[in-house]
Symmetry: C2
DNA sequence: AGAGTCTGGTGTAACGATGCAGCAGTAAAA
DNA sequence: TTTTACTGCTGCATCGTTACACCAGACTCT
């Protein structure tokens, strides 16, 4: 505790705690300006800060939002988290970070934890097509913004979706390659289980069609022989995570072990990309250009191309998606589709905040931002 | 609120709330096993979860630790955050993430926020040599683990430092290059203002000396014509961040703007590395091998080498530090010094936890872990 | 038998902030 | 003069959990 309470402020200002509370909560129209003045000075003098726990206990509200990302080990999510934090902090909100590894089980557990902690707004980034696992929470009143995902049938009424236009973005990427003269294209992704990935795939195929190429002739590598949305870590967030005390620590510790040795979903993106390149380049008629689902994957693809003794760009062109910092640092620098992360983060927070503060349920929306193609050295004209 | 309270559990089990509380807090030795059993079943049946706000208000304790990193946009910190979260979550703790950009002003503000929120344990990752800006908080009782930093004169008594042995690590890197026949080495860093950087530099020079090379003949690029630890964002974390209500939102919004447009400190690492390479390779007697302060910087150096029309490895060898995921994906794959992040995160959390829970102040310590050289393709024998 | 001790609990007053109901005092309306 | 209305402020119960103080009953010791 910083020690000083609302009572001390009240005493210092010569009013009752209620009046101080009124000032703190913007109800200052009901008092003389000079009273308000006195109170504000007392707050200043004593360095008073309201106790959040007490506030939350009383009101049920809390100035914290949750952020559930696949894994902050992926720089794309790290950067997004950074932006969201900036937006939130400026309004006095904190951000509680959760890594879901795109596992619906884990996701649901996290959200229940957050709900139990009194958190009423969450940015969800897993892009899963079905939000069924999360519906009960939303029904109870959890404010939710889905990031990197567009509206789907069966979505909760109140859901706000914020995403780049993935169809356009992937279309931009594919068209760029076609314009460079490439005709034998490949699309590389992890499992196509998430909405954004499906959309990107659709953008890719549409661009091919528009250019008069049969999309079914394109190479598609979606790697997943194993099911990535399985039931692993069913016991995760072990019992102690419920805050029930130390007795369950044994269980909890087991969960740690699992957690730390998991594949870190999006880390694998790079590994998958690499494996994809290996396989694709062994094809009888290998692709001359590859569209990757995201930059991490693209960097993996680049590594795989080099493993095969070929040159990225000169021999095989590669386009990524996201424009993470490292895209510009890769060799060759990666052509990619940029997402306007800062704007998206600001929009996500703004929506969540009004949702939380008004409590209003003004209905779901989808916000679609324009992606931008950033052309660098990993794409080269066919035969150029 | 999940709705169900300790009173309902008590009623269900036919005991008083006090007894339920005793179970929850591990004081179950004082009751009949069957009583405990009944209570646990009631908890289970009702799906009861203790209300954290109430708990915190009553005890002053809270199951949240703070994590202050330079920027989670840097994958190294993202990965660390991921590991720390895993360790914390398994014991029922949450992690509140803060990006300091290595700015002491901002750091202090964050810590004060966290303190005011009742958080009593923090992992600090800025590696600043002086912790003076943070001392008042530690004196008030904030538990602190400094990550990626070793003990310094003037440190608070209770501080626990957890770090890889930077001297050894950088020595490993330099020795590796010397063993490959390189004699003209360069050391590239941002400002050498942080402890770990100074230590890495010392390891570098020691290795040179050991090989009979005058360290002062080595090229050192520490880039900083401008002072990176300045006073920017002096108004940051604006007044509203204190939770004083909506009235100060104007100020807060101004702060956002600054925040979102800042250089993202460690993102610059790559930019600095690139600039460094440009400059160094224009020297009359350019280096044949470069040790970079970390992997992001090293990747920038690699980009700079290519910009100059040279080949990484064949023409100029590069060693990084950290072993981030992308080190293995770079072209060529980056030789680097690996930090055992998972162990370090686990150790950091374990210390913080005992500190918080025992309240004990068992004196500071430094924990030094062994780094490991990972040899990849970015280092090649001189003239090989 | 009376004092002391142990066992297995319970009662209650906080922790700090909130917000409704209410209350003086004054002013205008009836 | 009473009624009604309004202004500016205060009292108090309350949120859910905790931990100290205490208590009845049974048992032990001298």
């Amino acid at each position: 505790m910083s020690g000083v309470t609302i009572h001390q402020v009240a005493a210092e200002a010569g009013v009752s705690p209620s009046t101080v509370s009124n000032v703190l909560n913007g109800r200052s129209g009901r008092m003389l300006p000079q009273t308000r003045e006195r109170i504000e000075q007392a707050i200043e003098r004593l360095g008073y800060r309201p106790n959040r726990a007490a506030r939350q206990l009383r009101t049920g509200r809390i100035q914290v939002i949750g952020l559930v990302v696949p894994s902050v080990a992926n720089p794309f999510w790290g950067t997004f988290a950074r932006h969201l934090e900036g937006a939130a902090l400026a309004e006095g909100y904190h951000v509680l970070l959760c890594n879901s590894e795109r596992d619906p089980q884990r996701e649901r557990r996290y959200l229940e934890e957050l709900w139990a902690d009194g958190i009423r707004g969450v940015v969800l980034c897993s892009s899963l097509p079905s939000l069924a696992h999360v519906l009960p929470l939303v029904d109870r009143g959890l404010g939710m913004v889905a990031f990197d995902r567009t509206a789907q049938a069966g979505d909760p009424e109140s859901l706000v979706n914020i995403s780049v236009d993935n169809v356009v973005g992937a279309g931009l990427a594919a068209k760029h390659l076609l314009d460079l003269g490439h005709r034998r294209l490949a699309f590389v992704s992890g499992s196509l289980g998430s909405v954004n990935r499906r959309e990107r795939f659709r953008g890719f195929t549409s661009a091919l069609e528009a250019a008069g190429i049969d999309p079914s002739s394109a190479l598609v590598w979606s790697g997943a022989s194993e099911e990535p949305f399985g039931d692993r870590d069913a016991a995760g967030l072990g019992r102690d995570a419920a805050g029930l005390g130390r007795d369950a620590a044994g269980l909890g510790r087991a969960a740690t072990h699992e957690l730390l040795h998991e594949p870190f979903g999006d880390r694998d993106a790079a590994g998958l990309g690499r494996a994809a390149a290996h396989e694709l380049l062994r094809e009888p008629d290998p692709p001359t250009a590859i569209v990757a689902i995201n930059d991490m994957c693209a960097l993996g693809v680049c590594a795989g191309i080099r493993d095969a003794g070929l040159r990225v760009g000169a021999d095989v062109s590669v386009v990524g998606f996201d424009d993470i910092v490292l895209a510009d640092l890769a060799a060759p620098a990666l052509t990619t589709v940029r997402q306007p992360l800062a704007e998206m983060a600001a929009a996500a927070f703004a929506h969540l905040r009004t949702r939380i503060e008004t409590g209003g349920n003004e209905g779901g929306r989808s916000i679609l931002l324009r992606p931008e193609l950033v052309i660098r050295a990993s794409t080269v004209a066919r035969g150029g």
